[in-house]
Assembly symmetry: C2
Homo-oligomer: 198 residues x 2
């Protein structure tokens, strides 16, 4: 299984935002919507072996499972609408128990630390960072938990959680990519078994 | 220089479309907008060495030059608005002469064939196709002209143009990627000098 954890530091935790102004009025939900598309969609297909976990303002985690998700379209507005619909259920989760607003979507009252505690045994933890080890020098793992930040760097607190989760930061590019672009390249690395199989 | 040519078979050639329904009401302009972002934007940066050429319904070609483009934001709606603003000038181009609706944007009354005639000497022509030669087996060229289709395959007519333009189709993935995802991986191949430099 491939997991992608994306930290939305400024992300909304409620559904009161407009789809017409995602970058300015909704805590860069545009970036999170594009990450959702990059993580789960192929051309005319969905990645059934992948889950995306959006950590929203370190308060909620919204998980999308490719295997059971319905009605995800490749445009940013649709993806943002899917996230917004899920956030309408923000009052429902009690403790760490998830609610499932619709098939393939789970909403938990859990920040980054709890989400990583849940995922650390699910695969090799691979934080994506510009100064990480070149991904081409790493053996592609069978199960992976990539961790990416949004338009901001990881905070000091994020780094503490990552240091507990172990494993080594990797870099997918010498350039500073957008979060969704980094997800696309990470998938490509795994799809090609380390750039060897096409 | 890196050129990306994207064929928008169903793309609008005028500005009379709404930004609220790009996939349904605007000939998959959502896909073209994402291609624009993938081709020209990095995190907090623009790719000055890259030009994107959107071929619209084989009638117009809209070129975006990273070196001189202003006000491209990474969200799909903004990118689509930039395309729409340029298309408001659709009546102006005479013959093959381009108009420049704003800095870094050129609009020509030229379809795929004419656009390729103009670009064929600008670099190695690399059509991206699933059954192409694995990109990892190709020496990254200094100057490149990638050619990609939208959500449809290349048409018979497209293939005739490509066979005249020469060079060999390459594949960037064993999976069928979205157009913008393929652009991201092609950039990554060049950025890393064939997955060797990080």
């Amino acid at each position: 299984m491939r997991h992608f954890v994306v930290l939305g530091h400024d992300a909304p935790t409620g559904a009161d935002f407009a789809l017409d102004n995602l970058p300015g009025g909704a805590g860069r939900l545009d970036l999170l919507a594009r990450s959702l598309i990059a993580a789960l969609l192929l051309s005319h297909d969905i990645r059934e072996d992948t889950k995306l976990h959006l950590v929203l303002a370190d308060e909620f985690t919204l998980t999308f499972a490719g295997a059971s998700l319905r009605s995800l379209h490749p445009d940013e507005r649709s993806a943002a609408a899917l996230i917004r619909s899920a956030l309408e259920h923000g009052e429902e989760p009690v403790g760490r128990v998830a609610v499932e607003p619709s098939p393939g979507i789970a909403l938990r009252r859990a920040g980054f630390e709890h989400t990583m505690e849940r995922l650390v045994d699910q695969g090799t933890v691979l934080p994506l960072q510009p100064d990480g080890r070149p991904v081409v020098n790493v053996e592609p793992p069978r199960d992976s938990v990539f961790v990416l930040s949004d338009h901001r760097d990881f905070t000091e607190q994020d780094r503490e959680v990552l240091s507990t989760a172990g494993d080594e930061a990797v870099s997918v590019s010498p350039r500073a990519l957008h979060t969704d672009q980094a997800i696309t390249v990470a998938h490509n690395w795994l799809d090609t078994e380390g750039f060897t199989r096409y």
